[in-house]
Amino acid sequence: MAAPESSAAAVPTLYTNNALRNAFGGVLAFFILLLIGVMAFSIRLFSVIKYESVIHEFDPYFNYRVTQFLAKNGIYEFWNWFDDRTWYPLGRVIGGTVYPGLTLTAGTIWWLLNSLNIPLSVETVCVFTAPIFSAFASWATYLLTKEVKGTGAGLTAAALLAMVPSYISRSVAGSYDNEAVAIFALIFTFYLYIKTLNTGSLFYATLNSIAYFYMVCSWGGYTFIINLIPMHVLLCIVTGRFSSRLYIAYAPLVVLGTLLAALVPVVGFNAVMTSEHFASFLVFIILHVVAFVYYIKGILTPKMFKVAVTLVVSVGLAVCCAVIAVLVALVASSPTKGWSGRSLSLLDPTYASKYIPIIASVSEHQPPTWPSYFMDINVLAFLVPAGIIACFSPLSDASSFVVLYIATSVYFSGVMVRLMLVFAPAACITSGIALSQAFDVFTRSIKFQLPGIASNTEVDAAETSSSTAEAQNDVEKSEETSKNRPSKKSKKKEKEEKPLPKAKAEKKRLLALPLDSSVISLLLLILLGALYVVHCVWAAAEAYSAPSIVLTSRSHDGLHVFDDFREAYAWLRHNTDVDDKVASWWDYGYQTTAMANRTVIVDNNTWNNTHIATVGTAMSSPEKAAWEIFHSLDVKYVLVVFGGLVGYPSDDINKFLWMVRIGGGVFPHIKEPDYLRDGQYRIDSQATPTMLNCLMYKLSYYRFVETDGKAFDRVRQTEIGKKYFKLTHFEEVFTTHHWMVRIYKLKPPKNRIRGKTKKPKTKTSTTSSRAKRSGTGKKNPWH
């Protein structure tokens, strides 16, 4: 940074000027980060303002119940907890099957606040955990992007992540799910890995392993980290970027990380035995081989090295082939090649629909539609390619990692809509880089043209005034500068002597675009950012803040609130015995155990397909067979969700075909075509008799005709087929205000059987045999 002034006294002034500017920049960056954190927290509070501070959805209720247990009984009880109020009669080992990171985090925060005499309830802590950790996640994004490209890119990326709708959808206040802390752990682990890669310090490698441990505790998606980092190491080795920093960044992580992952009970020995981790071990071995080769190359002369290579290659190749053959035989002998079902369905998107219908039936596991990309990341969708190109100039270890991260996460987000969440931070990082570079170019152009130097008319003004041309500018500027080099040589020397705030040594050419187009482009970029903010706030307020346990609708009468779910669970809680078992479809299991505090048969954990198939078969069978199945499971109450009166589309009749499929997968007497008329699923008068007689139909539409006289189902938009019928084995005990949840009780078996279960005309011929007589022509002894 040579100063144009020649006097020695001017140099200290320049130095203090720079130090002052750096200090001011640092303070400004700190306050910007603080504001970004506040914004990330507040944008997620729409659901608390619009509804109330309540836990959303289904899975968070399980986490909330576990946190309640932890807060009440302490950590030793939590580790050893065997839950007998779910999956009756199997129970569930909570300590060994839950990812403890989220509950331990919230439990720690609750305990800390309570020991400081701030008496927040467990529910409040659970509801607000996600917004707090999203603020942390945006700070972690700042740190990560700063390691890749500098402070400006870091701040932009942090601001983008704080608002990106994809992340908001899984971390609103009340969405107390694993991803709330896991995304923070993911970004923080990546940041520490890049930091270790850049500095080569073993201290950061240790921190990296501990952050990876936190990630393993929090979410099953940790396999993404333990496969992406080895992929990146392999990429660095193959592209000739092997260095000792790479060794320090990767080797301790593998050893410590595997050990720490094995410590978590849910993972246990899977950390060394499943295929998801083999990539890390393979790359570990490859890294050591490469490091050894480099070492030998360093201490030998080139001639001797060639001799060593021929010797090793001839001997080592044979040994290698033998070892690889043994490994391949071992892995190929298992039917799934060692991969778990969920990972296989990620690699082969059609796997789940062919073999595991339960995984295929979850709505979060479906592939996303194209519009959902624009809904979830909006403006970033076309800033990402510009960011990828910016990562290549110059290409460093850190920026190659970012490119790899975004490439893999785009693929996986295309397989499962739930994984859009992993794609969002990568999109924010690359877009932050692109936006910050664009701002850089324009502001520098403006700055160098302000002191009055006439703009060089020979510079090619290739940009149009549309904002989409910004992405092309980064590509065009390199072409421009190569074209304009001969004409600008004279001016180049003058401009280089001015102090550049972010000058890189490689950039010898100056990029000065015309003043007016720079100003207009800058304004358009700001407009782009404004549109992004508007969309994000709208998405957070309207699309992603619904707690889904409380529904609202607007009509000409005003606002209607549908609180039927909580009404039903409260009824169960107050009007049934503590030990009564409730059967429903697995969607409602977590909510029933958490809010109604009753034992359920199946819940959202879906670990036992046969048990779920049993419940599905019961729902698809006629009343008597269903009664038999439920009676064998000690069930007392059956809960059914019905949306036909109010038009709630996610009710059990709409999910019924999945019950049939899952039940039919285990019990072959349930056949899906029996429930379809000409391949169409109908419940009106054209429905099949199997459909009209099954338990789900009867429990949903019992007495439905009394509501409007015509039994018009608002969801299916037709009148139902069988309108007048009585229930023989069940009795209705409760229906909520809008008929959304209906609870039935199993009728107890009669003490005396009055006559055999045969038709009356055959009975009259055998009256001489027994004293018991049948009733007057009744077919059903339970009536």
Binding site: G200, S201, L202, F203, A205, T206, S209, I210, S243, S244, R245, Y247, I248, A251, P252, V255, L256, T258, L259, L260, A262, L263, F269, V272, A291, I296, G298, I299, L300, T301, M304, V307, A308, L311
Partner: protein, 117 residues
């Protein structure tokens, strides 16, 4: 015949040059190399023992082997950072490298003791 002889000569020449090049390394690095060799040797003994006796309890075997491999890896990292010929780490004081090494070993052995059962 001549090719065999030359390959044997080559192997011998290679061996000699390796020995002479290694003898030139400083003493502190040789001590670290000895430590690495000891750790790997201990790991091999444990694997041989597991192969002969069986792998129950698996967590003890895993923690034992991984502790040996872990200390070996950390010692190699220390060697890299302390090596004076390494241009990337010339302004890293060896005391800092050793402190990092000790810290990482502490974390490693804490985890090992927890996992050993």
């Amino acid at each position: 015949m001549a090719r065999e002889k030359s390959s044997k000569d080559n192997a011998q020449a290679l061996f000699h040059s390796l020995r002479s090049a290694y003898a030139a390394t400083p003493v502190n690095l040789k001590i670290i190399d000895l430590y690495v060799g000891f750790a790997v040797f201990t790991a091999l003994i444990q694997v041989v023992y597991m192969a002969s006796v069986g792998s129950f309890p698996f967590n003890s075997f895993l923690s034992g082997v991984l502790s040996c491999v872990g200390t070996a890896v950390l010692a190699v990292c220390l060697r890299i950072q302390v090596n004076k010929e390494n241009k990337e780490f010339k302004d890293l004081p060896p005391e800092r490298a050793f402190a990092d090494f000790v810290l990482c070993n502490l974390v490693l052995h804490l985890v090992i003791m927890n996992f050993l059962g």
